[in-house]
């Protein structure tokens, strides 16, 4: 072993290393201080401030937040038909988008995991992954161009005497399904890949036809993966306000929240409305965890 000159600073660092090794709790505290400080204090702290605001109210004349606890915002949410409609529209389209992406994603994921050669499979993983990350806003914008009155969809449908859906709830559903499709394909693909071949062979050895194997073996094993994918499709749809703004004139929960944050807005009301997607997501995540979806993420 080569002899090494020991400088005072060097030995200090070394003593610190030994000290940390002997006191793992201090080492752990040092490791966790920054990330937990950030996530617990800054992030969860921000969430706490936000949801405390949900119980405050805004002075209608000065637009100032009055810090008095009350349930006024929630009463307004429940009693006002406008907000009920918006909530139902948001949840309904989120559910429709989840179903659509699951139906579209399954054959693709099945092809990738069970049919394609290894080379094709690897190419396809990249091919699905790339557009997932390509600018979100650009993708919505692209659909705006496609669905526009003089856009390419109406141009292509015109010879058949047909007309595209134009801007509206159908367009929103279509755009969301497009946006979140890769989030559904990838977990299902991973889930299908994890099913051991021997299980399928056992099923057919026991006399099951391919359709029976599919229904009784493959589908139940893929459920956690579909639920994992649906966490994204559902959550992302529920919190979005950009896509509805670009391809529809109807409002989503996000649009109402957005309109109420800022100078003349009503932050307490926005915060109260925001509790709906958060509660839905927390329940969703808890159910998903029970179904084993976290392992499939």
């Amino acid at each position: 072993m080569t002899a090494r000159a020991t400088t005072p600073a060097d030995s200090l660092l070394r003593r610190l290393a030994v000290g940390l090794y002997r006191h793992p709790r201090i080492a752990l505290a040092l490791l966790l201080a920054l990330p937990l400080g950030w996530l617990l204090v800054a992030y969860l702290g921000s969430l706490a401030i936000l949801f405390t605001n949900a119980f405050f109210r805004t002075d209608p004349f000065t637009s100032r937040v009055i810090p008095e606890l009350g349930l006024g915002n929630f009463e307004r949410l429940i009693s006002d038909a406008v907000y009920r409609t918006i909530t139902l529209r948001t949840l309904g389209i989120a559910a429709a988008v989840t179903a659509t992406t699951a139906v579209l994603a399954f054959p693709v994921a099945y092809f990738m995991a069970r049919v394609a050669s290894e080379r094709t499979r690897n190419l396809m993983v990249v091919a699905i992954l790339m557009p997932l990350w390509a600018s979100y806003l650009v993708k919505v914008y692209a659909w705006r161009i496609i669905l526009a009155q003089d856009g390419i969809l109406n141009w292509a449908l015109e010879p058949f005497g047909l007309h595209g859906p134009g801007f509206g709830d159908v367009a929103t559903w279509l755009v969301f399904s497009y946006l979140w499709l890769p989030y559904m394909i990838l977990p299902i693909y991973a889930g299908l890949q994890r099913i051991p071949q021997s299980l399928l062979e056992a099923s057919s050895d026991l006399g099951a036809r391919p359709t029976a194997t599919f229904r009784n073996v493959i589908l139940p094993l893929v459920v956690p993966a579909v639920v994992a994918g649906s966490i994204f499709t559902f959550s992302l749809t529920m919190g979005d306000y950009i896509a509805p703004q670009l391809v529809s004139s109807t409002q989503f929960i996000g649009n109402v929240i957005f309109a109420n944050v800022g100078g003349s807005g009503d932050l307490p009301f926005a915060a109260a409305f925001a509790t709906i997607p958060v509660l839905v997501m927390i329940i969703y995540l808890l159910v998903a965890r029970r179904l084993g979806a976290f392992e499939a993420l």
Partner: protein, 260 residues
């Protein structure tokens, strides 16, 4: 469904995924100022105009700076947290993964207004710093997951060997641990950058008057005289967010999963 049917459906879905992106690229070369179909011919003039546009240039620069800032923070926080979770057993260890994933599991608008309300309550002004704080919060998970996955697949025995040979904690980290996680850090960092580069919702609530590239697009897509430049900027945004992801997926198979 037969194999041929499966092939056809897969092909159709891939077409569905790529068609809008290709269309935006075609429109960026559209000779007509209006984005209607069919287009009359191709031109490069919008590219020259976009490159000359100071608003576009500033927004691009802002996005790059915000992305790098958020990535740097995410790298530090994510690797510290993954080290703690991998090396120690402690109360609440299982919750760490949950807390890390929460900022992307909750709708972006919730993270956005939460930070907005907190910054407002603390009386700090909005600006590039608050954008970086917002972005870093949801970027941590990419570094954390990548590095943790790498730790779980690599053996601890080389670190023990390093210690047996007389290296202290720092030397072991520099010469043994860091080289093991280097590509995982790079992949996580690239994903974090790509995500930050694209982000618009959290940005909207934390930006003050700072303009990132997505914000620029959002402010200009309705303006008739800017429309052709928006198409060009859209292509730039696609390319600049896809390249890091491509590199990340080349670096490590960990990057293949959505959140991994």
């Amino acid at each position: 469904m037969g194999r041929i049917g499966l092939r056809l459906v897969t092909g159709a879905v891939l077409l569905f995924i790529y068609f809008p992106l290709v269309l935006v690229i075609v429109y960026a070369f559209n000779r007509n100022i209006v984005a209607s179909w069919p287009i009359p011919g191709l031109t490069l003039q919008w590219w020259a105009r976009a490159i000359d546009n100071p608003g576009v240039r500033n927004a691009l620069l802002t996005s790059v700076v915000a992305g790098m800032g958020a990535t740097a923070v995410a790298l530090v926080l994510g690797s510290l947290a993954s080290l703690a979770v991998d090396r120690f057993r402690f109360f609440g260890r299982e919750t760490i993964s949950f807390v890390v994933i929460l900022p992307i599991a909750l709708p972006g608008i919730v993270t956005g207004i939460a930070i907005n309300a907190a910054v407002g309550a603390l009386g700090i002004g909005f600006g590039l710093a608050t954008v970086i704080v917002g972005h870093a919060t949801f970027c941590v998970v990419f570094v954390y997951n990548n590095v943790l996955a790498r730790f779980r697949r690599s053996s601890r025995s080389i670190e023990e060997a390093s210690a047996d040979l007389g290296a202290d904690t720092w030397q072991t980290f520099r010469h043994v641990t860091f080289p093991v996680i280097r590509t995982a850090l790079l992949a996580g960092g690239l994903l974090a950058f790509a995500l930050s580069f694209d982000e618009i919702i959290v940005t909207t609530f934390t930006r003050g008057d700072v303009k990132t590239l997505p914000i620029w697009i959002f402010e200009n897509y309705r303006l008739a005289n800017q429309a052709p430049i928006v198409n060009v900027v859209a292509v730039i945004a696609i390319v600049l967010s896809v390249i890091p992801v491509y590199l990340a997926s080349r670096l490590t198979s960990d990057a293949a999963g959505v959140t991994r």
